[in-house]
Each structure stands twice: as structure tokens, then as C-alpha cells.
């Protein structure tokens, strides 16, 4: 789902430099502008990002609650690794055709964490352009994976952000490749965390691969619908669109790993360090996954 944060906006379309002030801007806005963030209007039901507490809590009490508690019987360890305050970037593996992992991580934070906080899930820009998704996706706390969005959430608003550096490569991979991490984008997520000086919390999710195994990708249907991909799963597409919610009752295990801190300023400018850290995060998640899978007795009962 989550695309690696893209390279900065093209500057080609900009009119030739707006005098001196514009270039000087990024450095200054770092500390000065946080106190000018808009206040919360209690009468509103949506946040400025378009998140709707009403829609979210309705889903949370019904569908998500059912899947989390009774269907997947999620088991969580290391929740204390998610900081109780300040921004933090959660990085997870990504799997399942309609990936249930993001929602389960959000639910785990609400259920298990001593200071539950909303989780912002980064998704591809694609969803903003697809009718229907465009309406629903922001309401449940999804944000387009734009570096400026991630930075504002992490640094200015000090929130929790979840990214999937594998992006769609993770969720469209076939069942035979389960638990093998794809490439971790271009390390944009590390850059975002370093720039905002917030910790990265790696997360391993086991169970999503078996909950909705992908047997094949249907190229023709993908073309016809204009979707990112159309997978063949046990229930989709032959049971219709609702078949996308047809998960098998695999046992879910979530493990939050030790956070990695970036406290020095300007670390994100060192591209070498960014790449090394991205590999390190990937290796930790991969090790965690293999460890969890090797200790698992049964796919269905854990």
C-alpha cells in the first residue's frame, strides 16, 4: 500500500525563484512554525487531514473488533517499544491482498498501549484518485505517502505514522514468497524519521500472509478496473467485491521491536547513512519474521 516517500517535488514548474525568502524558508520553518499550527475546533467531526472519528470508531467497534479479537485472535508483544508521546515512525512488513496488517497494528495500539494514540497510515497516492476510495480512505486515518505529509505528522504534529516501505510489492507478492521482504523502497522512510528526529519502531506481523494468500495476479481485470492490482485469493474475485474481506482465520502475531533513535540534526543529509539504516531496519524485521514463523506451531492456532 505505502509507496516509498517520493523524491521531493519537482521544482521545474516553479517560476524562477521568488527572490531571497523562498530558499531561506525550509531551515527557519523547522522550529518557528510549530506553535502556529491551527487549533482544534471541538465542533468539527473531521480533522484537517480528513480523518473522521465517527467513521473510524464505528468500524473499530464492529468489523475491526471482530477480526482482531475473534477471527485473527491477535497476540501482541513489545507494545512498550512504541513511545507514549512525541512522533514515531512505525515500519512494518506488508502482506495480504487487501492488507489487514495496518488496521490490526492500529487496533493493537488502541487495545494494548497504556497511552493509546491514533495511528496515521500512509497509503499510495493512487487512492486519492480512485472514486470511492478517495472518500473513505482519509476518513479512517490514511494519509498519502508524501514526504511533506509524513514530516508534518511526525515533526510538527508529533503523531504516530505507519509506513510500509515495501509498498504494493509487499501486498501483491504471491503466496510462495510469503515472509520474504521485498526491497525497502529508496530509504525515504529513514530520511523522514531522521529529518523529524523521531525514532523508528520496526514491526513484524505474522499471519496476514496466510489470512489472504494471493495465488495469482489477474492482469486483465487490473486493466479493466484501473486498480493497483487484482489478486486471485480464496474468495476473490469469484465472490464479488466483498470477497476482498474474506480472510482465513489465521492466527495473528504482532511484534514491536526496539526503537531506533535519531537524535542528531542533519543526519538525513548523509545518503550513505540513510541506506545503511534502511537495510538495518529491513534486516531486523526479516529476522523477527523468521524467528516468529519458526516458533509458530500452527498457522491457525499459533
Amino acid at each position: 500500500m505505502a509507496d516509498p516517500p517520493r523524491t521531493p517535488l519537482s521544482v521545474r514548474e516553479q517560476p524562477p525563484g521568488k527572490g531571497a525568502p523562498a530558499p531561506a524558508l525550509p531551515a527557519r520553518r523547522q522550529d518557528d512554525l510549530r506553535r502556529y499550527l491551527p487549533g482544534v475546533e471541538p465542533e468539527r467531526q473531521l480533522t484537517d487531514w480528513g480523518r473522521s472519528e465517527r467513521v473510524e470508531s464505528l468500524l473499530d467497534r464492529t468489523l475491526v473488533e471482530f477480526y482482531y479479537r475473534y477471527w485473527f485472535r491477535a497476540e501482541v508483544e513489545g507494545i512498550e517499544n512504541v513511545p507514549a508521546g512525541g512522533g514515531a515512525l512505525l515500519v512494518s512488513n506488508h502482506s495480504g491482498a487487501l492488507p489487514p496488517d495496518a488496521v490490526m497494528i492500529g487496533k493493537a495500539l488502541r487495545e494494548e498501549h497504556p497511552h493509546p494514540r491514533p495511528l496515521n497510515i500512509t497509503v499510495e497516492h493512487f487512492f486519492k484518485g480512485y472514486p470511492g476510495f478517495s472518500m473513505l480512505i482519509p476518513k479512517i486515518g490514511c494519509v498519502a505517502a508524501h514526504p511533506a505529509n509524513v514530516h508534518r505528522l511526525l515533526y510538527d504534529e508529533q503523531q504516530l505514522v505507519l509506513v510500509f516501505p515495501e509498498g504494493r510489492k509487499g501486498s501483491e507478492k504471491l503466496y510462495k514468497d510469503r515472509y520474504q521482504l521485498r526491497r525497502f523502497g529508496r530509504g525515504g522512510f529513514v530520511e523522514a524519521a531522521m529529518r523529524a528526529q523521531v525514532p523508528i519502531v520496526p514491526v513484524c506481523v505474522v499471519g496476514a500472509e496466510e489470512a489472504q494468500p494471493v495465488f495469482a495476479q489477474l492482469k486483465l481485470l487490473k486493466k479493466l478496473t484501473g486498480l493497483l492490482y487484482v489478486p486471485l485469493t480464496p474468495t476473490f474475485p469469484h465472490l464479488g467485491p466483498l470477497g476482498m474481506l474474506g480472510y482465513l482465520p489465521a492466527k495473528f502475531k504482532l511484534r514491536f521491536l526496539e526503537p531506533i533513535h535519531f537524535d542528531d540534526e542533519g543526519m538525513h543529509e548523509d545518503k550513505g547513512l540513510v541506506q545503511t539504516t534502511a537495510h538495518e531496519v529491513r534486516a531486523r524485521i526479516q529476522d523477527g519474521l523468521f524467528d516468529m514463523v519458526s516458533k509458530r506451531g500452527s498457522v491457525w492456532f499459533g
Binding site: 512554525l33 487531514w49 470511492g132 494519509v143 498519502a144
Partner: protein
């Protein structure tokens, strides 16, 4: 250096007129001169109107003769429904170029240029950031004529800023404006019985109230604020939320595919969707407004409050149709009022008092600028134009400081009137 001698280009546009009225209340400004092709559409006290288009040679002579130090450009057309795209291009691109040409040159007296731009500069796209800040460009090249014009106009302003380092150039990019008096295509859509949408999309919208637009222009005129600033009220609303605040249902009448064609058909039956609006109805836009706030600007309205103010107006609008006659510029009358030795200051109409009311802590100063200098009859004539909140503040102040029975009585009756009409302003 505060501005003393100001030239407003586009005096006859809504914004030019409003800005001139606001600046007139500032006694530190020596001269306000407005130029436009057409005659002013609002009543002005001491602003001088010169009928000049955007011919740079003529403008140059006006600028030099009046020793203008500040030029405020309010002309930009940001709504393609108001004029043909050819005229808009002439006005936005060629006009801006000419005005800047009139301000440039080593011997020019101009020290400050304030340019009113629009957030259409950023466009609306699928891969936009949720909040544009001033340092970001457009992710994709513009597809509509108006947006191309705005980019070109801003490019020439930027070039002017580069080549004239001694001139303080401020560019203000305004979000979509709402308010009871201004007319825009968006307000027209919001006036319909249901808010039209594109099926399956709920774009994020940020607004700015018309009074905040005028104050923002005034703010830039009074200060040295070089650079670009977004002007958009706090709060980004989803379009469904806007419909809710207006108390209207929303109608997804535009299809997600073939939207442009459908909009063309709608245009035939009188529903005007300007082409630059379609992208916004699909993807929306949010602006990072913190930089202008950091420059000391305070908004009077949030986006939500701006929508509510519009909603109040829309409910009241059918009752107000036959009210005051529109103002007509009569050259002879205006010249008589300004220059005739027979006009005495006392007989002139009350000074256009700034209607900005200072918050709740009113005990410190008068709630209206220069209040203590006004005579009772001037205050009484003013009460009809104030909002209930301001009236209450005014009453409190009058009670505490002057205690004139006639004034208090007038305020009370104005308050009663405004309550009778549902608390709407300007009733």
C-alpha cells in the same frame, strides 16, 4: 518603512474597492490613488480614481507624478467564469507585466509591491501534499488557462523581485474566498439547493473569509514582508462537511469519469463549473498558513466560521434582495466632494470606520478605531452596519466612558433589530 502613498491597481474590482475603503481609515497614509478601466463600484472617501488601464507609460506617469511608494495589485482574475479566457489572459499576464514595468527602473519611487495571487497557483492533483507550503511548486504543469495565467503572472512578479532588490515584493496566495458580499463560482455552487460533488470524491477545502482577505492585503501594505505567503484560514474541511455546515444535502451529480464532458453539459443548463474548479472538486487542496501567521497576521475567521457566515447570508439573502440601491460613480459629484471649497469637513459623511472589533478584552481600548473622535450621530449611523457582538462591545464601552443616552439607545435598538432578524449581520 510604512506605506504613505499607495497606488491600488484594479480599484474597481471587489478587492480594490474594499482595500481602498480599509486604507482610508488609516490617517498615516497620505495618498491613496486607484486606477482601473472601469469606474469604482464602491463609495470612497478620499481615494482618488484615475481612469487608466494597464498601459505602462500612463501608469508610469501617475506613479512618478504622485511619488507612489507602494503598489498594491488586486486585479488578478482567478475565476474563469467571470470573463473570457482571452480577456483574463490580457488582464492577468499582460496587465501584470505592464504594472511591474511601471514600477521598475532605477529612478522609480516604488519601494513596495503587494501582489494578490491565488492558491490556484498550486493546482489540485492526485499526488499533492496535504498542505502546500510556500516553498513548494506545482507538482504538475497547469492544464487550464486561468492557472497558466496565474503561474505566468507570478513568474513575472518573481522576476521583478529578483531584478529590483530595493523593492519589497509580497505575494499573497489566497485560498477560496467566502463571504456575504463577494461573488465567486464556488459561492454560486454553494447557493444551490444541494452542494454538487463528483461521485466518489470528498475533496478537502480550505477557505478564507472576505474580511480576512482585505485585512491580509492591509497587513502586507503596512509592513515589510518580502516573500510569498499563503493566506488561508485555519481548518481544512471536507466538502461533505461544508454541505453539512450550509445545512444542505450534497448531490454527486458529476460522474467520476468524463467529468469534463458532464461539466460542459451542466454549463448548458446553467450550472457553472469553471474548468479550474473541476480538479479541485476531485482532489481538493490544503494550504500551510503558518508563515503568514508567524508574520503577525491574525485571522478573524476559521474556514468553518467562514462557511457558517456564508450560510447565514444565504438564508437571509432572499429577504434582502430589494434593499439599498447599488452605488454609482458620478465623476462630478466625487470631484465636488473632494475639491470644492464649499464642502466642509463636518458635513461629510462619517469616516469609514474600520469594522474590525477587538476580541473580548474590550475594556482596554475603544471597540472601534477612533471611536472617541466620533460624534454621536456618526456613531448612530454606524450601528446599523455592526454585528451584534460588536454592538454589545460598543454598548459596554459607551456605558463606561461617555455614557451618552442617545448612543446607548441607538445601539439597543440596533441590537433588537439584529436579534429579530436571526442575528444576521448587516440586516
Amino acid at each position: 518603512m510604512p506605506s504613505q502613498r499607495i497606488l491600488i491597481t484594479g480599484l474597481s474590482t471587489y478587492w480594490g474597492g474594499r482595500l481602498a475603503q480599509a486604507l482610508e481609515a488609516d490617517p498615516s497614509i497620505d495618498a491613496i490613488i486607484g486606477v482601473d478601466n472601469e469606474e469604482p463600484s464602491v463609495e470612497l472617501e478620499r481615494t482618488e480614481y484615475v481612469k487608466v488601464g494597464t498601459q505602462h507609460a500612463l501608469l508610469r506617469r501617475v506613479v512618478d507624478a504622485a511619488e507612489i511608494d507602494t503598489v498594491v495589485d488586486t486585479r488578478l482574475v482567478v475565476d474563469s467564469a467571470t470573463t473570457s479566457s482571452r480577456k483574463a489572459h490580457e488582464n492577468n499576464v499582460i496587465g501584470t507585466m505592464n504594472i511591474l514595468a511601471a514600477c521598475s527602473g532605477a529612478d522609480s519611487t516604488v519601494r513596495k509591491v503587494v501582489f494578490k495571487s491565488s492558491s490556484y497557483f498550486y493546482g489540485s492533483g492526485q499526488d499533492d501534499p496535504a498542505f502546500f507550503d510556500e516553498s513548494m511548486g506545482r507538482p504538475h504543469p497547469p492544464r487550464t488557462p486561468i492557472e497558466r495565467d496565474i503561474l505566468e503572472a507570478e513568474a513575472s512578479v518573481a522576476e521583478f523581485a529578483d531584478t529590483s532588490p530595493s523593492v519589497n515584493v509580497t505575494v499573497l496566495r489566497f485560498a477560496n474566498v467566502l463571504g456575504p458580499r463577494v461573488r465567486t463560482s464556488h459561492i454560486e455552487l454553494f447557493s444551490l439547493p444541494a452542494v454538487p460533488m463528483i461521485l466518489g470524491f470528498d475533496p478537502r477545502y480550505q477557505f478564507v473569509h472576505e474580511d480576512d482577505v482585505v485585512h491580509a492585503l492591509e497587513h502586507a501594505t503596512q509592513r515589510q514582508l518580502p516573500g510569498v505567503y499563503n493566506v488561508a484560514a485555519d481548518g481544512v474541511l471536507a466538502l461533505t462537511e461544508v454541505a453539512g455546515l450550509l445545512g444542505k444535502p450534497y448531490a454527486p451529480i458529476l460522474p467520476p469519469w468524463g467529468t469534463g464532458i458532464a461539466a460542459g453539459v451542466m454549463r448548458r443548463i446553467g450550472l457553472n463549473f469553471p474548468s479550474e474548479m473541476l480538479a479541485q472538486l476531485r482532489f481538493g487542496r490544503g494550504l500551510d498558513n503558518r508563515r503568514y501567521k508567524a508574520a503577525g497576521f491574525e485571522y478573524g475567521y476559521t474556514s468553518r466560521e467562514a462557511v457558517l457566515a456564508l450560510a447565514e447570508h444565504l438564508r437571509l439573502h432572499p429577504l434582502l434582495r430589494s434593499s439599498a440601491e447599488p452605488y454609482r460613480y458620478e465623476r462630478e459629484v466625487e470631484e465636488f466632494l473632494r475639491w470644492s471649497p464649499n464642502v466642509r469637513n463636518g458635513t461629510r459623511r462619517p469616516a469609514p470606520v474600520s469594522r474590525q472589533v477587538r476580541g473580548a478584552g474590550l475594556t482596554a481600548g475603544p471597540p472601534v478605531d477612533h471611536y472617541d473622535d466620533l460624534r454621536p450621530d456618526e456613531i448612530i449611523s454606524l450601528t446599523s452596519s455592526l454585528e451584534p457582538e460588536a454592538l454589545r462591545a460598543l454598548r459596554e464601552y459607551e456605558n463606561g466612558h461617555h455614557g451618552r443616552a442617545a448612543v446607548i439607545e441607538a445601539i439597543d435598538s440596533a441590537l433588537a433589530r439584529s436579534q429579530a432578524s436571526g442575528g444576521a449581520p448587516g440586516a
